[in-house]
């Protein structure tokens, strides 16, 4: 007889709150006219309440639903990052949607549903739940990428993402199946327990399972050689969706990636450490070298996000408590600087002309000094220059890896940081050292200004005063 699992709805509070609000957004959408701004308020309220309700349980870690769901330090911190990134994405969309004539209410509810999936992904300790989370997130993203129905690029992005995503999901599910076949359980704790027996550990299908899992997760976090969708999809998707994809869902995939590999399969670490190291290094190199020749800012940032995935993979390889806090800190810093950069990318566009070529940034530093300064701060932080957030974030990841003895990996990562400065500085060179091509027609709305200021405060604050956040991120 199958025992019914205990139901602990309090653990699920953020998921439930967010789901209710999402449905509310869909319902209200039916009754408002073309002006969707009321939906933004409801959505933001929902995200805020979800963030607050993640503290409903305070005696972390709380495991529930028969060990398939956990509220712990990492899941709460990730929930904060998700709510922040989704909130920023929604704010970022307000003006963009008006300009690009995206007048569908589903837009906001999709972002929120996606957030629900992300929270589940970061809190699950069961392969089935993780799969569910990934599917919720992916399905929402497929639609979001193609939400500009009249735009062929957007359609192309959505279709490509969907086809390849379905393919990758197959890998992931197959990997999970093999893991289940070898260990007889889908619970992460159970798998770890089973793997401690030598006869289980020696099964060849385990290796196959690990490789398939790496492929599946590798696709979601855009690591080489499963990264090829990234530049095309990032370029084709509406810019706020691109920013959102680069931050929230990626962070969620990393959360699950980290949890599965470090809690379920520490026994297999010798195998996957090597694999992930190679993947991390190639990811960094492909991302950074690929970015050098890009002339489109969205593609450039897409390659940059690939390289960042390489750095973050180092945190998984390093394991340990310092690696956990480094991962959390990195994702938070990455949220601020990426949204900051994308907000300025959106700001420079106008209806019918998105101004996405680097040429379009010529002379921005003189025409709009404060915007130029802000963009420089975001880019330099992405490049990892002190005293900005990106530097401290990289520093902690590298330190975690060094403590575990991965010296060569860190040397290669530092080398890559140096390479990456080339193309970040290239944008700055365009902004400050080239004559302006045409007039900038920048209409800075209060909402965009708020996002830029949040991004700046976050980037500078985490760079100058990382202490409090680091201690929050420390389990």
């Amino acid at each position: 007889m199958i025992a019914a699992p205990e139901i602990d709805l309090i653990s699920l509070a953020p998921v439930l709150v967010l789901s209710v609000f999402t449905m509310l957004v869909m319902l209200i959408d039916l009754f408002v006219g073309k002006n969707k701004s009321v939906l933004v308020f409801v959505a933001l309220t929902g995200l805020l309440l979800a963030a607050v309700s993640s503290f409903a349980k305070t005696d972390w870690p709380v495991s529930s639903f028969g060990g398939s769901y956990v509220v712990d330090h990492m899941s709460v911190f990730f929930t904060m990052i998700f709510c922040l990134s989704s909130g920023l994405a929604i704010l970022l969309s307000v003006d963009y949607n008006k300009r690009e004539n995206i007048r569908v209410g589903e837009y906001y509810s999709l972002i929120m549903f996606c957030t629900v999936g992300m929270i589940i992904l970061a809190s699950s300790t069961d392969l089935i739940m993780i799969f569910l989370g990934i599917e919720i997130v992916s399905l929402c993203l497929y639609v979001l990428a193609g939400i500009r129905r009249g735009d062929t690029r957007s359609n192309e992005a959505a279709l490509k993402y969907f086809l390849l995503g379905a393919f990758a999901t197959g890998f992931l599910l197959y990997g999970m199946t093999l893991l289940y076949g070898a260990t007889g359980t889908t619970k992460l704790a159970g798998i770890a327990e089973a793997l401690s027996h030598a006869e289980v550990l020696s099964q060849p299908i385990l290796v196959m399972g690990v490789v398939l899992l790496i492929a599946g997760f590798g696709f979601k976090v855009a690591s080489v050689p499963f990264h090829m969708w990234t530049p095309d999809v990032y370029q084709g998707a509406p810019t706020p969706v691109t920013a959102f994809m680069a931050v929230g869902p990626k962070a969620a995939a990393f959360a699950a990636f980290f949890r599965v590999f470090t809690t379920a399969m520490p026994e297999l670490a010798p195998t996957w450490e090597v694999l992930l190291s190679i993947i991390a290094v190639t990811t960094m190199f492909v991302g950074n070298l690929g970015a050098i020749m890009q002339t489109n800012i969205k593609r450039l940032l897409a390659y940059s996000s690939i390289s960042h995935a390489g750095y973050i993979l180092i945190a998984i390889i390093a394991k340990g408590s310092l690696a956990t806090s480094a991962l959390l800190f990195y994702m938070l810093s990455y949220t601020f600087m990426t949204f900051g950069a994308f907000s300025i990318v959106i700001l420079l566009g106008r209806a019918g002309k998105e101004n996405l070529e680097l040429e379009d940034y010529s002379g921005l530093g003189f025409k709009a000094p404060l915007l130029g300064l802000a963009m420089s701060v975001f880019l330099l932080s992405l490049g990892g220059l002190p005293p900005l957030a990106g530097f401290v974030a990289k520093f902690y990841i590298f330190q975690a890896a060094l403590n575990e003895g991965y010296v060569i990996l860190v040397v290669l990562a530092v080398l890559n940081s140096a390479i990456s400065l080339y193309y970040y500085l290239k944008v700055i060179v365009f902004m400050y050292m080239k004559e302006p091509k045409g007039d900038f027609q920048i209409s800075l709305t209060p909402i965009t200004l708020i996002i830029i200021i949040i991004g700046l405060i976050g980037t500078v604050q985490l760079g100058l005063f990382p202490g409090p956040v680091i201690s929050l991120a420390h389990p």
Partner: protein, 623 residues
């Protein structure tokens, strides 16, 4: 009380940020006075720190580390945002903020006509901030931050007149030279961290005496790399070439950066790291040798220059050579003492030169000046005082500090006869070029009668008068400096050596230089003809001195240029350039390859995923 020391950093930073952001909205003069107030405030806080230090017994005055908050904390490494208050840092800050304040006030008059008045003061405050970071740093990390910031600030200030091409080039040259030094410092910091597991001064200096044997390879390398930084910042041979060019900046900049503060950072570094340098006697000889050679070479070049600011610039190099000689022979506080007196009279000389240039409508060639003593009486008297002090005329500030250096060049721990002899020659040169400059500028008749020189306004002459007072009387502070700084240098007070013979020779050398200048440039109407007739041998010698410059050019510059040219044509074009270009080209090729690989076709992408996975699987199986 010590926690207030953060204000020393905060005030100039506030000045810089507000002037650079809202500078255009500030009324012109208000911005200048605001900047002055910030630096003056920092000076007052420094005085407060001095008073606080005095309330403690000398042994307790060390290692007051003020931590604002921990910046980076992780297992095995941590960095605090903290500053160090001790006699050395307070002493240095008194000079930086005190002399800096006077120069700020002076600049209000000097830069009065400049369109970008407030931008200038923003940079000046940035410089004071950078220098304070450098001095107050409690560990090598923030030392390097300050070190680099000072380089940045000097770049901005030297190239302040961006429409002047030579200024921009000079700024670039200074920046590049300084970055060479920064790299040296950076590597030194890595090595220090590797050996001591910490970057804090307190930890490192406490562990230093037991961590190495004297003249260990690693301590030699660390101190040598630190020296690269010190020599680059302090314009010592062979990293000196940026300093004369840096005179392209506005004159107050020359006074602030290239006389009173920035160039002394190298001396400060050696004094600060005395615990490390003491473990490397070989490096000490190197410091003393480079110092005394720079003193001679720069002094000799200074004797033949005609640009008023260049003469003073070479003199600065030469005097800093004296300071390095002092710290090199092991009398750190004597070096710091000369640093102080030099800051007084050299700032005064530069500001006086600025006043002359201001009064002569931007003329810098001393051959076109002359007779300015009537038109500019205050500048004349203060410049005379500064010249006497620089030349080491008895009882002026320079006399005391230089006399101690020369004495210790022989009697000091690492002193010897050669150092002493060369130092005496350099003293003689100092007297000569100083008064050559002085007579050319102020005495005789005006050589350009159409010029209408006028005295500068009070806002410019007041700082001159204060500095003149300090240049006259600052020498009597010597004993105070030694006893105040002695805890930092392990309680050592430099011994006073009663060696009348050496003292008389040193004074005679200084007077000889002055008299030679008087003889050549003061007598008769037609000075050159008179000199040729009456003082033919001396003139010949001096003329040959000029040849020394040429020989120097022939022996060093030409071969270096030839080597440089050879290197450029062979090594660089074929080797470095080629490899750098090639690397760049290959990187772009790879980048393009990645882009081509990115074909946009979904089936290729899917195939790629499968291929990647199969590769990984094969790798695992056959690993």
């Amino acid at each position: 009380m010590y926690s207030l020391s953060w204000l020393i950093l905060l005030l100039p930073l506030t000045g810089f940020l507000s002037l650079s952001w809202f500078g255009k909205r500030f009324p012109k003069l208000l911005g200048g006075w605001f900047a002055c107030a910030m630096v003056g405030g920092a000076f007052l806080v420094t005085l407060l720190m001095l008073a606080q230090l005095y309330s403690e017994s000398p042994a307790d005055r060390l290692n007051h580390v003020q931590t604002l908050y921990p910046w980076i904390v992780s297992e095995g490494f941590s960095l605090n945002l903290s500053i160090l208050i001790d006699p050395l840092s307070v002493f240095m800050l008194l000079i930086v903020t005190g002399v800096g304040f006077l120069i700020h006030v002076y600049s209000i008059g000097y830069m009065h006509h400049d369109k970008e008045f407030n931008r200038f003061f923003a940079y000046m405050n940035l410089f004071i901030f950078a220098m304070s970071v450098l001095v107050l740093a409690a560990d090598f990390f923030f030392l390097i931050v300050g070190w680099a910031l000072v380089g940045l600030a000097s770049y901005l200030l030297i190239g302040f007149w961006t429409e002047k091409k030579s200024a921009v080039l000079a700024a670039r040259k200074a920046f590049v030279m300084n970055v060479i030094g920064d790299v040296g410092m950076l590597i030194a910091a890595f090595m220090i961290f590797e050996h001591f597991g910490s970057l804090n001064y307190v930890d490192v200096f406490k562990a230093a005496p037991t961590a190495f044997f004297p003249n260990d390879d690693s301590i030699l390398l660390i101190t040598f790399l630190l020296l690269v930084g010190a020599f680059a910042k302090s314009a010592q041979i062979p990293l000196h070439t940026w300093l004369p060019d840096a005179m392209e900046g506005p004159t107050p900049v020359s006074a602030l950066i290239h006389a009173a503060t920035m160039v002394t950072a190298g001396v400060y570094l050696v004094a600060r790291c005395n615990a490390l340098f003491t473990m490397a006697p070989f490096t000490m000889y190197l410091i003393a040798s480079v110092g005394v050679i720079t003193a001679i070479v720069a002094g000799s070049i200074g004797m033949v220059q005609y640009d008023i600011k260049r003469v003073i610039a070479y003199s600065t190099m030469s005097q800093i050579g004296f300071m390095f000689l002092a710290v090199g022979v092991g009398v750190y506080s004597v070096g710091m003492f000369h640093l102080m007196t030099h800051a007084f009279f050299k700032a005064l000389l530069f500001l006086g030169a600025g006043s002359v240039i201001h009064g002569m409508a931007d003329e810098q060639d001393i051959r076109k000046m002359g007779g300015l003593r009537y038109a500019m009486p205050i500048t004349f008297i203060t410049f005379l005082i500064a010249s006497l002090a620089l030349a080491g005329f008895p009882l002026t500030a320079g006399f005391f500090s230089k006399e101690e250096i020369v004495m210790n060049a022989y009697h000091g721990q690492y002193g010897n006869f050669v150092f002493w002899g060369l130092a005496v020659i350099a003293v003689g040169m100092t007297g000569f070029y100083t008064f050559r400059l002085f007579f050319y500028t102020f005495m005789g008749k005006s050589r350009t009668p159409e010029a209408k020189p006028h005295e500068s306004p009070l806002v410019m002459t007041a700082p001159l008068m204060i500095l003149a007072g300090l240049s006259l009387l600052g020498g009597f502070l010597g004993p105070w400096v030694h006893s105040f700084l002695s805890p930092v240098f392990g309680g050592a007070v430099p011994m006073h050596h009663d060696d009348a013979m050496l003292e008389i020779i040193a004074v005679a050398a200084a007077m000889g230089g002055i008299i030679a200048a008087v003889a050549i440039y003061m007598t008769g109407k037609d000075q050159l003809a008179f000199a040729k007739q009456m003082l033919a041998p001396i003139y010949e010698a001096l003329y040959n001195k000029y040849y020394i410059d040429e020989i120097y050019d022939f022996l060093i510059v030409k071969p270096v240029k030839a080597i440089g040219k050879f290197m450029e044509e062979r090594a660089e074009k074929l080797g470095i350039d080629f490899s750098v270009d090639e690397v760049g080209r290959q990187v772009r090729e790879v980048s393009r390859g990645i882009s081509i690989w990115q074909s946009g076709k979904v089936r290729i992408y899917a195939l790629n995923m499968v291929a990647g996975m199969v590769t990984i699987l094969l790798f695992v199986i056959f690993m």
